[in-house]
Symmetry: C2
Subunit: 355 residues, 2 copies
């Protein structure tokens, strides 16, 4: 049995008995109208179910930023040149990128994962490099089936390590060209058309967008992918960082570690995880609704994201903000006074008394 198969077999099939009811009971005992904290209350129910406890926590927080280069950049599908992936990895390691600032601000430990960057290795990253970038998937598969499995299992392993040290994690990424990869994955797993799935990425103009859509259409025609064989889809279109994130999501679910998914690219990793394990949505949070065209379609496959701020940066930035929000929700759940403690009249215990 492979690590992947073992992981899939380990993910809890049903939510733990009684946790959701107990958490809702606690929420209803706190000094506020019932349900008045809306999605914050629901989020804590999910967090508790994933962690299998009535006292969920986000105290120890981590962000994994998966980085990889993409052969498809040869086709001019991105506003930025491929070297920017490498340059941004350096920026991550030095602490100057958006995700560094947000993680410092929310006390989230940051890990930069080299899943497939080219050139000399970097100090300060987790070296999980599968190869120096994927191949151009317009001409052949982005990676071999063996590399696809290796990337996924590397992600599973990272999640296992994370589960020993952290209460919640976010996943984000960096990889010039990876929105094209994510769009292809969206098309295969949801039946979206290239038009529906293609967005401007880092900021393509109309001509660039049309070109990217044409490249995607041609690539989809080249690989007659079967959505029922997710490893084939990963091999055809994924990036190493996307495959590794998919593995991380599956591994985290097996270890009862909540994962906050960032935006469009990490959403594609979610789709891969879902192809391996259809009920994976119950084990994750969606951090935010990205402005990237195609994300709306992707989000139909899960549940509503916590934030909607027109962001489209990636790196895990939306996930980091959402972890901040979940941490606020945990503090409400744990620290608010009950009606009894505060001696506040709880009309809610009776039926509505309005005349």
């Amino acid at each position: 049995m492979s690590t992947l198969e073992q992981t899939l077999a380990t993910i809890p099939r049903t939510p733990p008995q009684g946790i959701a009811d107990a958490v809702r009971e606690r929420w209803d005992s706190l000094t506020k109208p019932r349900g008045s904290l809306g999605r914050l209350e629901e989020s804590i129910v999910r967090l508790a179910e994933i962690q299998n406890t009535t006292k969920p926590t986000t105290e120890r927080r981590a962000m994994y930023v998966f980085c990889g280069e993409h052969g498809i950049t040869e086709e001019g599908v991105s506003l930025y040149p491929s070297v920017v992936t490498r340059e941004m990895v350096k920026n991550f390691v030095r602490g100057g990128a958006a995700i560094n600032v947000l993680c410092r601000h929310h006390a989230i430990q940051t890990f930069v994962v080299d899943a497939g960057v080219s050139g000399p290795k970097f100090e300060g990253t987790l070296d999980r490099r599968i190869a120096e970038g994927t191949r151009n998937f317009l001409h052949g598969p982005a990676m071999s089936r063996g590399q696809a499995l290796a990337a996924i299992e590397s992600g599973i392993e990272l999640a296992g390590e994370a589960a020993e040290r952290f209460d919640i994690t976010g996943v984000g990424e960096m990889g010039i060209g990876n929105s094209t990869s994510a769009s292809a994955i969206l098309c295969v797993f949801t039946g979206a058309t290239p038009d529906e799935a293609t967005g401007r990425g880092a900021g393509l103009d109309d001509a660039g967008l049309a070109h990217k859509c044409n490249v995607l259409t041609a690539a989809l025609a080249k690989h007659a992918c079967d959505a029922a064989d997710p490893l084939a889809v990963v091999s055809a279109f994924a990036g190493f960082e996307i495959a590794m994130m998919a593995g991380f999501i599956l591994g985290a679910a097996a270890h009862k570690l909540p994962v906050v998914i960032d935006g469009f690219i990490s959403g594609a990793a979610f789709l891969i995880a879902r192809a391996f394990y259809p009920a994976i949505a119950a084990h994750v949070f969606f951090g935010h609704r990205s402005a990237e065209h195609g994300h709306a379609r992707l989000l139909e496959t899960g549940h509503a994201p916590l934030l909607d701020l027109g962001m489209r940066l990636g790196e895990g930035t939306g996930a980091a903000l959402a972890i901040g929000l979940l941490t606020s929700a945990v503090s409400l759940y744990r620290e608010m006074a009950t009606f009894a403690e505060a001696a506040v009249s709880d009309t809610n215990q009776k039926e509505s008394t309005s005349k």
Copy 2:
């Protein structure tokens, strides 16, 4: 010239020259695709314009929770009895309410303002009590014109004090019955029908909701209010906490102090402020989209709120979360590396190079 008139004359008529451009230029120099932080970028532009600086800050944060009792509760328009207002003030002072938890979590100093609670005064509140609750506005005006002005000017004064000590403030409230008051204000200032304006408040059932709507309809018929005379509207329908919040919003604008408005009730205070000063929206933030029916209609009068979490608690809880978000945005704006500092290739300086 009254304090109110003086305040209205002091509010800056136009945004300060050059601030928005300078802030956008800084955003565009940071290591991310242009505009990719979406509404966080826009929010910092507004914050900078309000504070009249290219280095906006939210370092010193405060929340003002305005509390008052409402005579209209005699009509059974609320799920909770009026005494809960007083009980919750005690809860605020002891630090057990949702707003206390969020303010601790986000390092926001909390002020509980007694604008019109009944009974013995509380230690630990700011005593700005106008009277021990409003009168029942089904039978006559909620307060005198003199009380309305006193409440507004008291809010202006509080904002002046806040401006000396804080960089950003939130406003929230507590007052059983005040969603009926807010609904009436919404009807007068926007032309919304009672049906459109009436919500379940703390959790009315269908019968309670229908009754509340009838009370509102009758009250609106009783007071033939002229929206062009905002003091008359305040006198007819407001609560002391709502009038004082309206004054706070105006005073803050005059002092270049950003205010984050919470939800439906503080939104009604915004409508009053807007009736006195039509361009007030440029000087505030809307914290969140409340689940209270009627808030959507109210938000049409301003700009989009930052959060949408199905919350309907009041107290300033949505504003506190939004201040947390704005503080994250400030840290991004101030701490991210520029393309030059990080030696990252900035294709954005050229036109799109996609083929």
